[in-house]
Symmetry: C2
Subunit: 215 residues, 2 copies
């Protein structure tokens, strides 16, 4: 059974935004049981964790002598070893993998940058102007994504690992006012959040927060 | 034979920073011949290209009915189908794939953000302060990367697709003064640039610039 790591105290207060959510969701979609090792911010900086994750982040994934880090790599590993997260035919599989990388490398970076503006440029005279610049980058990506998405339910035709990464990346925009102007994406997120595997993953992650709060 | 797309007129003036370099390099390492379709910025926004690349970027990769976009996805596809770019044993292969995603998702984003500060925040009163913030993020990542790298020649023990992505991501820092304070990385880049496959890829890309300049 694989062991993943997750925040002992998640900064998002159990809202499902920490990146172990992606891994939990992929494991639930493929019906894999898993163990969780909770780590504090202190422990994430210690040699034992840095050996697993050189950048001191979560999640990691350990199974036998295989250790992975980076949520994208872990979700891909799960998709490679268990059916249900990637099409099997060459052309749609290649497309789904392209979308996985697009979620992480093209769509997510400006969204993460927005969090930097919010948290690390608070109180700066330029914060409003920076929000405008970053929000424009985000909207350009969402416009292009919406165009490519069309009326489909999922990025690669059927549900795939690409949807796990994309839904999770854009969920970080909830409450920003940006996502709300794209019904195509609020519908997409709702469709994803309605999947039993998503719900089990979300609840398992949320429970960590509830337990930490009541401790 | 696969066909890739590349800039007809690269903004980096043939310095090897455009992302088709990653794909050319992977193809050269595995000894695959390839065709190149050069596209203008105008053409990148047209439906024919958007069908291949929903975000209007380069590179893309087409072979038979398989079409990929995102340099990470393409390099992975090449590594999956041809020996030489990924270890075959499960544990080192998983490690190499983790490093591929780390190059693209953890190391590259603040480096790309630095380009935004340089180009899109030029003339803003806050530019210097923003450079300081972003450079600190970059140095944190490089410090962690240097620690993990140790005295190794390549990220996953032997040369792999992870090195293609990591070397190309950090090369974008050349001339910033940051990279130069990490001999471990200037050595790493020099080691990579000395590979015959790198040189062939670089020269092929540079030739496009020379041809465009003399046209």
């Amino acid at each position: 059974m694989p062991t993943i790591t997750a925040f002992k105290t998640s900064p998002d207060k159990g809202a499902g935004l920490a990146r172990d959510m992606r891994v939990r969701w992929a494991l639930e979609e493929t019906g894999q049981p898993y163990d969780v090792r909770l780590v504090t911010f202190e422990e994430m900086k210690q040699p034992a964790h840095l050996k697993r994750q050189p950048f001191g982040q979560i999640p990691t994934y350990e199974e036998g002598d295989v250790t992975l880090f980076e949520s994208g790599a872990i979700v891909f590993h799960i998709a490679e070893h268990h059916p249900g997260l990637l099409p099997t035919a060459a052309a749609p599989r290649a497309r789904a993998i392209s979308w996985m990388f697009a979620a992480l490398n093209t769509v997510e970076p400006p969204i993460v940058e927005r969090d930097h503006v919010k948290h690390f440029e608070a109180g700066k005279s330029w914060q409003a102007e920076r929000f405008a610049l970053v929000d424009e980058r985000i909207r350009t990506r969402l416009d292009q994504l919406a165009e490519a998405f069309g009326t489909a339910d999922w990025l690669a035709g059927t549900f795939s690992a690409a949807d796990i990464l994309m839904v999770h990346a854009i969920r970080r925009l909830e409450g920003s006012g940006i996502l709300e102007s794209y019904p195509v994406f609020t519908d997409y997120i709702a469709r994803a959040a309605d999947r039993p595997a998503y719900r089990r993953a979300f609840e398992a992650q949320h429970k960590v927060f509830l337990n930490a709060s009541s401790a």
